[in-house]
């Protein structure tokens, strides 16, 4: 008799997660690169964390990015606008053994779902939250979002927006989030590295992906991602390494008073020893907040894992409580409960 090999006994590959559905994002959309990176990361997550392919769940809200679950061969659910975080939480709390990935955009997460965003950050369930930030509403064809720069003209702001935008990193950290990272859709290597770190972090891992909408907000991140401009306008943070950037790593960040400052190595006697060393693990969020806030032209935008602090997850707290209650509760079954307290017998 022929030996039957269970598919999951074989090492997972990218192919295991590719869907047979036609991907309908616009040609040139940053989402394609993100999808590829996620498909590449899942086998690594499976390998390193012991998840089988049926234990991945991809959850989304509404928007271009939120079509994501249909393009992955996993368990998936495409929810309603802004509420993916709640959907993901219900899944994770019900079955903590699942690797839950949540896909959302800046409209979905920062506007209609803003409330859920801050609460998932503070509650800290072990969910990997990928937020595609293209600073525009794409699916509804070009209205401003809560991350659109002030003054930008869009279909609903013909005179330019009048509103101060959110910085998602500030919001995540301000909401007492324990993990925040930022990547760009033009750097697949960094995306895969950071997505894997997000998965390995036991808690809510929020990753902002600076993603380009080729139709309605093309080149919105060009300064940070441009072939020539990126060296002066992005800094890739690595734990334990000095915060250096520039084409030749000739620039760095120092703390001057209570503020960060960009310095040049060799100028004014500055050496590598003066440069801040990145520590994403400090509970104190002061420096993390400043790093998340940095933006060109004064500062480079911070990429990589900005904050990663260990903390009990929501599902661990709940299920530990379940186990404890099983030990101490006087009720072993529902009959016990129904018969508890004041009862009386009628003969």
């Amino acid at each position: 008799m022929e030996q039957k090999i269970e598919p999951q006994e074989l090492a997972l590959t990218k192919k295991d997660f590719e869907s047979d559905q036609m991907v309908k994002w616009c040609p040139g959309c940053g989402d394609h690169a993100i999808l590829k990176s996620v498909e590449n990361v899942f086998p690594l997550v499976g390998q390193q964390m012991g998840y089988k392919k049926e234990e991945f769940v991809v959850v989304s809200g509404i928007g271009c990015s939120s079509r994501f679950p249909y393009y992955m061969n996993t368990y998936g659910i495409h929810g309603i606008h802004g509420r993916a975080a709640a959907l993901a939480m219900g899944i994770k709390l019900t079955n903590p053994k699942l690797s839950v990935w949540m896909i959302s955009g800046d409209g979905d997460s920062m506007a209609i779902g803003g409330n859920h965003f801050i609460h998932i950050a503070r509650r800290n369930p072990d969910i990997n939250y990928l937020m595609f930030n293209n600073k525009i509403y794409g699916l509804t064809k070009g209205q401003y979002s809560p991350t659109t720069p002030k003054g930008q003209k869009t279909k609903t702001s013909p005179q330019g927006t009048f509103e101060t935008p959110f910085n998602p990193g500030e919001l995540a950290i301000g909401a007492r989030g324990k993990f925040f990272a930022r990547v760009v859709d033009t750097n697949p290597k960094l995306m895969q590295k950071v997505f894997l770190e997000a998965a390995l972090h036991h808690g809510a891992s929020i990753v902002e992906i600076l993603q380009n909408c080729v139709i309605f907000n093309n080149k919105i991140h060009a300064l940070i991602t441009g072939r020539e401009t990126k060296f002066d306008n992005q800094i890739i943070l690595e734990a334990g390494k000095p915060m250096l950037f520039g084409k030749e790593h000739e620039k760095g960040l120092v703390l001057e008073g209570t503020r960060l400052k960009v310095v040049k190595l060799g100028e004014n006697g500055i050496t590598e020893k003066d440069i801040l060393v990145h520590d994403p693990t400090t509970e104190d969020a002061g420096i993390h907040m400043m790093l998340a806030s940095m933006a060109p032209p004064e500062f480079p935008a911070a990429l990589g894992v900005i904050r990663s602090v260990k903390s009990e997850t929501l599902e661990d707290a709940i299920w530990n409580s379940v186990e404890h209650e099983k030990q101490v509760s006087p009720y072993k079954n529902v009959d016990d409960l129904l018969n508890s307290g004041n009862t009386w017998e009628i003969d």
Partner: protein
């Protein structure tokens, strides 16, 4: 003076109403009297009547909190129209409750609270104890506050703490009046105030003092006794509808083997369900107090996708917020129970008062063609069975179920015959089998039309669900016109076929006659009381109380066609009657409606039905 026992009169039933400031402990007093009523073997039903403010201005009518109990020797279906005994702790509670008592009711007041200032606050122009306002009543003017202080003077208590137990003095008087053993209540104090022995002592002393005061007073010409009710053999307890709902769901979880995920946001009068389930983690019952109503229901859909018995509990305004998400549950055909403990609306409305006005919202309050099962519990104890059935139908038919209860049964309590969980019907969710080569997300059961529940983590069943229309069988996203028609028809038909799995509509009384009274949900108690009283008077009248609303039982036409007249009674402006006019247009319907934040009274119903019979 020698103590004497007053003449004991046997009664069939009685209604007692406790009323005081919302900080006076009237709910506790009422609950302790209910416990004592249970020990006495009577059947009973209770209803708390309190303002939505936690501590409305002291001494004002708007701050009055009440608790009514109806108990008796026969079966008790209602919380009683008018009270036989009123305890009024201050002028405001007397003012607020005079219209809810019988013409010859006994009134017990705290005379110490009838000061000039309190009378003015309550809006009395002259002292009702001194003018002829209370003519016809036996009024016991007891110096409750002073005697309470006096009875605890040996204990180390300040004035404020001492007065806290004055409600127990009142309870002592009522215990005497109904020949109850006050010592049975002592154990309650010992448990409740375990950490504070002085408070235990104070409450015991005050309760005893109240009892002795009534005994020595010679003001009552009679005391009363009510024979044990003729309840069937078994073990009994007292439950509120909210408690019964929570327990019914726990029982369904145990029988189905699906652990509970409850995502809810606190809202009056539904919060008790969340609070109760939060206590029972030992049954793998996971509860999450969500950041809002929407997160509550959406996380519940997540829980359902992941394989839980998924529940969200709310009241009318919360159901409005949940409607988009319920549509997602309809589209993804995931099971969940949405409990709506209805209250007076629209908007914030009357948060602590009861109404049946969310029916249309439950049936139709979603975008698109979005059918869901709608059911309604008919009493506090029935909430246990209806919640159990709601969970069973949701899981077995893979659909959201909206379970309507309301403030009157949610907060009201009744005597509950404790069932055995093993005796309840089995629950068999249609779980997809691992590595089933034929699994397709929207392949359906031939009879129920339900799809399979394929739970993440199960090998070989990976699939995607979502709010976009899906292709029949495969579940791929589809915009095909004929497919959308087909899926819309299937979702509707799936819910309609639930009619094959629910009991038929029953008639209480003769199955044919002059008048059929029709009600749904919580009004059963008062409607059956009115109908039974009129039948005892020889009138041709019967009752059909609906519990299943979407779909309706299959025999509605057959039942309705045997009566000359049909009158539909509901605590709204006619939502169910209009639904019947739509689903069964072949009949002519009379209607009786009321939205005053109050239940029907037996007397008003009888008057209305008499008019109909004589017309």
């Amino acid at each position: 003076m020698t103590t004497k026992k007053d003449k004991v009169v046997e009664l069939e039933e009685a209604v007692v109403r406790f009323a005081g400031d919302s900080g006076d402990g009237m709910q506790l007093t009422g609950n302790l009297f209910s416990d004592s009523t249970a020990f006495a073997g009577n059947d009973f039903a209770t209803f708390p009547d309190f303002p939505s403010e936690i501590r409305a201005p002291q001494g004002t009518v708007s701050g009055v909190s009440g608790f009514q109990i109806h108990f008796g020797h026969k079966n008790i279906h209602t919380t009683g129209d008018l009270a036989d005994v009123l305890v009024a702790m201050n002028p405001a509670s007397l003012k607020a409750n005079l219209k809810w008592i019988k013409k010859d009711a006994i009134i017990i007041v705290d005379i110490d609270a009838f000061t000039e200032k309190n009378l003015t606050k309550a809006g009395w122009e002259s002292n009702p104890l001194e003018d002829n306002t209370l003519t016809g009543h036996l009024v016991i003017q007891a110096p409750l506050s002073n005697m309470t202080r006096e009875s605890v003077k040996d204990l180390d208590l300040d004035n404020k703490s001492a007065l806290k137990s004055k409600n127990m003095f009142a309870l002592g008087i009522i215990f005497y009046l109904f020949n109850r053993d006050y010592k049975k209540t002592f154990s309650f104090f010992e448990t409740k105030f375990k950490k504070n022995p002085i408070v235990v002592e104070a409450n015991k002393k005050v309760l005893e003092a109240g009892y002795n005061y009534a005994e020595t007073l010679e003001a009552f010409t009679n005391t009363y006794r009510i024979e044990k009710a003729s309840l069937t053999k078994g073990r009994y307890r007292n439950v509120t509808g909210n408690l019964a709902t929570a327990w019914g769901l726990l029982a369904a979880s145990e029988r189905s083997g699906r652990h509970i995920y409850l995502g809810s946001y606190p809202i009056t009068p539904a919060t008790d369900i969340l609070q109760e389930l939060a206590k029972h983690k030992q049954f793998n019952c996971v509860t999450q107090q969500a950041e809002d109503e929407i997160a509550g229901v959406v996380s519940t859909i997540g829980g359902s996708f992941a394989g839980a018995l998924a529940i969200t509990s709310t009241s009318g305004p919360g159901l409005s917020l949940k409607s988009e998400a319920i549509g997602l549950a309809v589209m993804t055909e995931l099971p969940m129970v949405i409990v709506d403990v209805q209250r007076g609306g629209p908007s914030t409305g009357l948060p602590t008062k009861s109404e049946q006005s969310d029916l249309m919202q439950a049936l139709y309050g979603r975008n698109g063609e979005a059918p869901a099962i709608v059911m309604a519990a008919t009493s506090a104890t029935d909430a246990f069975y209806t919640a159990y059935e709601a969970a069973k139908l949701a899981m077995e038919h893979m659909t959201p179920v909206i379970l309507l209860t309301d403030g009157s049964i949610g907060n009201g309590s009744e005597v509950f015959k404790i069932p055995h969980v093993a005796d309840l019907p089995s629950i068999n969710p249609p779980l997809a089998k691992a590595n089933d080569p034929d699994y397709k997300p929207y392949k359906r059961d031939a009879d129920k039309l339900s799809r399979l529940w394929a739970i993440p983590g199960t090998p070989g069943l990976r699939h995607r669900l979502g709010g976009l229309e899906k292709e029949d069988i495969t579940g791929n996203v589809s915009q095909d016109p004929l497919n959308h028609q087909k899926m819309t028809d299937l979702r509707q038909e799936k819910v309609m076929r639930v009619a094959n799995y629910i009991p038929e509509l029953k008639v209480e009384g003769d199955e044919e006659g002059d008048v059929l009274v029709v009600g749904w949900g919580s009004t059963h108690g008062v409607l059956i009381t009115a109908v039974e009283e009129m039948r005892a008077e020889g009138k041709s009248i019967s009752l059909a109380q609906f519990k299943h609303i979407m779909p309706l039982p299959k025999n509605v036409h057959e039942v309705f066609s045997k009566f000359k007249k049909i009158i539909v009674c509901e605590i709204n402006m006619g939502q169910f009657v209009n639904y019947l006019r739509m689903t069964h247009p072949e009949f002519k319907y009379e209607q009786y409606n009321k939205v005053q934040g109050l239940p029907f009274m037996v007397s008003e119903l009888k008057t209305k039905f008499d008019t109909l019979l004589n017309a």
